[in-house]
């Protein structure tokens, strides 16, 4: 009930006040001249609104303020509405004449094992050197031996060599019993060996073959067999011909390849595992092998055609086409040839290869060019065409997509400018706040206590004043480089060190002000009321220093931004990939880049200037506003 009455009373009072106001407003129209001491004549302004009024009268300060508001909006709000971030890499699609396929004759022989035994495996390792020796001598056949094995090698034609074994190691046996230890022996051989050991023979004949037992140790003997020259055992086919399956991905067995190569020599159809295959000479020098139903199964060609990456991924159609062109070039001796073929191309919009529903590439008809290149005596043909490739968009010129273009890393310059502004401004604020806190505490203590505390702190100030900032920062930066410090840690330490090196000026200012303030009456009053020392310093003295502090902080901000940008420009401050205004300019500081990419560094330089100028304008305006006596 009482509350209700109270409310009612309040309502009444309000009504009365409003009525009075209305009356006053009505009387104001009366044109009654006001007396000089009339309270209505004097508009009372608080000290802060006085300062604000004076500040806003200053045109330069207003310009500065506007610039600063713009910079802050651009750096802190702008990125929210800009589609790209500072480390978004942009790519573009460029047409580059790139190798697509490499075509050449095989340089080394492919070895096909006719029989899969030790002798053949031994021979496989030696075939290349045999052929080399044979070629050096200029002979068509020769005999070679290595250890216990000897081989005959015969040249069928330039592309095919046959290797026969005449003597090879059959295996190891027990020297005491003649029982086989390794290798394959027929039953007859086993019996013969056992009897030979028993009769202590070291050599014996079985059929047309001659066996030699060589004792290696007490229990081990090696059996070598010699085959007469007429009864040659074919072990290896070495060929430079390339067998390509017609259907990409078909696995052709080695024994089939051997059958093909053998049949090629005799030049007719052949049978393999019950099926009949026929030969047919195809385009170029190719030989097409067709299966029983007449479908092409394997193509035999002189050329190995591989993708530029080394993969065997082309279909037979393309290989035939290339082989045809290349053999044509070899015959005519031309150094350049072109042909048209359907090849995959990057879709410039999606920057991907388009794929149809079967998972195959969508092809486009392009002109492919073939050029021979000779390296180390080998001639190879390179098939190239103008391929669309995704490349990093380096130093892209300004366009609708990138207002200021892209830089050397493919980053959008405008987004980096916005993020760079963020870092530069944050560095400025953090450093200035840090040095102000340090400076106010040290200067406040020095000024308030005076005496030896003052002397000590002021000498400390002198010492810090005498340490040069820039060299120290450079030394630390080269140290950070050596330690490979991550960019964010680096930024942090840079701010800390700049703060520590920069407090001396503010301490001097605060101390000077406090020295004169502490003698004033209000401090005596504060002391008389028994306030604590810390409260007297930080509640009564420091607020009185505030005007000068704010001015020197504003001016200092510009200075710190200059220092930071100079360091970053020299590559010693904030590091890639973090952007700051300084290192954006640094990224185009070489003479050539400077000439060509003025649209990158001039806007950034102007931004730095504008920001620092704005801070100085505002600082200047604040000084005049706080202390109109200075202005006069």
């Amino acid at each position: 009930m009482a509350e209700y009455k109270q409310n009612l009373l309040n309502e009444k009072l309000k009504q009365k006040e409003e009525e009075e106001k209305r009356n006053a407003a009505a009387h104001a129209d009366d044109n009654k001249p006001l007396a000089l001491d009339d309270a209505q004549r004097i508009k009372v302004l608080s000290p802060s609104s006085l300062v604000a009024k004076r500040f806003f009268k200053n045109k330069l300060a207003l310009v500065g303020l506007a610039i600063l508001i713009f910079m802050f909006a651009m750096s802190f709000i702008g990125p929210l509405f800009y589609p790209y971030r500072q480390t978004d890499k942009f790519s573009t699609v460029n047409a580059l004449e790139l190798d697509y396929a490499v075509c050449g004759e095989l340089t080394s022989f492919t070895k096909y094992l006719v029989v899969n035994d030790d002798a053949a495996k031994d021979a496989k390792l030696l075939v290349d050197s045999f052929i080399k020796t044979l070629n050096e001598k200029g002979e068509n056949s020769g005999e070679f031996s290595r250890g216990n094995s000897s081989f005959i090698i015969e040249k069928s034609n330039d592309y095919l060599y046959r290797v026969y074994a005449t003597s090879f190691v059959l295996g190891n046996i027990d020297a005491l019993t003649g029982a086989p230890k390794s290798g394959e022996f027929t039953d007859e051989e086993k019996d013969a060996l056992a009897s030979a050991i028993e009769s202590r023979q070291t050599e014996f004949d079985l059929g047309s073959r001659h066996y030699v037992i060589e004792k290696k140790s007490k229990t081990l003997a090696v059996v070598t067999v010699k085959v007469p020259a007429e009864e040659k055992i074919e072990v290896i086919l070495a060929s430079k011909l390339v067998l390509d399956a017609v259907k990409t991905g078909t696995n052709i067995s080695e024994s089939f390849k051997v059958a093909v190569l053998n049949a090629l020599d005799t030049g007719s159809a052949f049978e393999y595992e019950g099926a009949t295959y026929t030969f047919e000479t195809g385009e170029g020098d190719n030989v097409v092998i067709k299966d029983a139903s007449g479908n092409p199964y394997v193509v035999l060609s002189h050329y190995s055609i591989r993708h530029a990456s080394g993969e065997d991924s082309f279909d037979i159609d393309f290989k035939n086409r290339v082989a045809e062109v290349v053999s044509g070039m070899e015959k005519s001796g031309e150094k350049f040839a072109t042909f048209e073929y359907d090849v995959p191309q990057l879709n410039p919009e999606t920057k991907k290869y388009d794929v149809d529903e079967n998972g195959n590439y969508v092809l486009e008809r392009e002109t492919l060019s073939v050029t021979p290149k000779e390296t180390a005596g080998e001639r190879r043909y390179y098939v190239t065409y103008s391929q669309r490739k995704e490349v990093i968009d380096i130093y892209g010129a300004p366009s609708a997509k990138h207002i200021l273009g892209t830089d050397g890393d493919g980053y959008d310059v405008f987004s980096r400018i916005m993020y760079g502004g963020r870092v530069s401004l944050i560095v400025g604020f953090v450093v200035v706040i840090l040095e102000t806190i340090l400076g106010v505490i040290m200067g406040g203590i020095a000024g308030f206590f005076g005496g030896w505390v003052d002397t000590l702190i002021m000498r400390l100030v002198d010492i810090f004043y005498c340490i040069p900032t820039m060299p120290i920062m450079i030394i630390l930066a080269s140290l950070f480089d050596q330690l490979q410090m991550p960019p964010y840690n680096r930024l942090f330490w840079m701010m800390v060190v700049l703060g520590i090196l920069g407090w001396s000026g503010i301490a001097r200012l605060v101390r000077g002000q406090i020295l004169s303030l502490r003698e004033q009456e209000f401090m005596i009053a504060a002391e008389a009321t028994g306030l604590k020392t810390s409260r007297r310093i930080f509640k009564h003295l420091v607020p009185n220093v505030m005007p000068q502090l704010i001015v020197s902080m504003t001016m200092g901000l510009g200075g710190v931004i200059l220092t930071e940008s100079a360091l970053s420009y020299l590559g010693l401050g904030v590091k890639h990939p973090l952007a700051t205004w300084g290192n954006i300019i640094n990224s185009v500081s070489t003479i050539d880049a400077m000439k060509s990419y003025t649209y990158i560094w001039i806007p950034v330089g102007v931004l730095i200037c504008l920001t620092v100028i704005a801070f100085n304008f505002v600082g200047d305006g604040l000084r005049d506003a706080f202390d109109p006596r200075m202005k006069r």
Binding site: C466, S478, Q482, G558, S565, I585, N616, R632
Partner: protein, 333 residues
């Protein structure tokens, strides 16, 4: 007066002692891996030319800089040799630090001197002019220009000048001290001087542009203060011509603080311009020390930092003394 100077001098020595102690501690506490890696790289680079080995470099460092002792003892070892003028052999330049200093200081000094003179010639009259016509367009222009000058980053001014005068107009070389076709043996002394002078133009303009604003503002503020003084009003009341009021009464009094400041910045001529010299590849002390510091050359870095400290203290000392000379009230304290 003598007592005053002696006291200030002693104080400076004490400050130098402690400032260098701080710097020495910083260098001393560089991770040993850093020092050793740098020494190793240097040894690898110089061994081809018959330079010192890695061990010799470190031994020399330890001997002269006391890096193998405690901080305090090490500091005194360094101070002992530094006072005698022995700063050791620079790692980067492969010659005694003092020799490198004397070989490049005059480039820095003359570059500094030229810009200093131009700075005075331009800034002081403009500052006085701005103060005389306060709130006029001239005043606003001067204020704006000086604020812009203070706000310009050195590297931006340098790059702009290079772009305009070296790349577009081709009046000057982009950087360096000598022209491409300059051959030391064939050139007369005059030609050498002219060639170097031509290469000093852009760096000097850079230095003038960035330092002119401060002096201009300082002159203007002081001139304004003087113009509001009672004796100026008296002089005007006497009916003196305005030229005499400004030139005789006001300007002379304005000069007092200005000369103090200028005197204080005289030693700075020997400290070189770190960034400007580096950007224009002027073989001065700033350029030399920049590459020393970036390359981790401890002897030359310590030498440069002590030089900077001494010059700063000397500057303060000179301006204090000058202030005491022109204003007797200061001497009382």
């Amino acid at each position: 007066m003598f007592k005053f100077i002696v006291r200030r001098l002693l104080l400076s020595v004490v400050i130098f002692f402690f400032a260098m102690f701080l710097i020495y501690t910083l260098i001393y506490n560089l991770p040993s891996s850093y020092v050793e890696t740098t020494a190793r790289e240097l040894a690898a680079a110089s061994s081809k030319m018959g330079g010192k080995t890695y061990k010799q470099w470190l031994d020399q460092l330890n001997e002269q800089y006391g890096m193998n002792k405690g901080v305090v003892r090490g500091y005194f070892t360094w101070l002992g040799s530094a006072v005698k003028g022995e700063f050791g052999t620079s790692w980067k330049w492969n010659m005694p630090c003092t020799e490198k200093f004397s070989s490049c200081i005059w480039n820095s000094f003359f570059l500094g001197l030229i810009s200093f003179i131009f700075e005075i010639i331009i800034a002081i009259p403009l500052g006085v002019l701005a103060a005389r016509k306060q709130y006029s367009i001239t005043d606003y222009t001067v204020t704006c220009v000086s604020l812009i000058g203070i706000s310009l980053p050195t590297f931006f001014v340098a790059t702009l000048l290079k772009l305009i005068f070296a790349v577009k107009l081709r009046w000057f070389d982009i950087s360096g001290m000598h022209s491409r076709n300059y051959i030391a043996e064939n050139a007369t002394q005059l030609e050498t001087i002219l060639d170097i002078a031509k290469h000093f133009v852009l760096p000097a303009i850079t230095l003038i542009v960035i330092s002119i604003g401060g002096l201009m503002r300082y002159t203007r503020t002081n001139m304004l203060e003087v113009l509001n003084a009672d004796y100026i009003r008296t002089a005007r009341a006497k009916g003196l011509p305005e030229s005499k009021v400004i030139g005789y009464h006001a300007f002379r009094n304005t000069l007092i603080p200005v000369v103090t400041i200028l005197g204080g910045s005289l030693p700075g001529l020997f400290s070189g311009a770190l960034i400007t010299e580096t950007l224009f590849a002027i073989d001065g002390i700033g350029y030399a020390s920049y590459y020393s510091m970036v390359g981790g050359d401890i002897p030359f870095t310590m030498f440069y930092l002590s030089l900077m400290s001494v010059l700063t203290l000397l500057g303060n000392l000179i301006s204090d003394i000058l202030y005491a000379v022109v204003d007797p009230r200061v001497r009382v304290n």
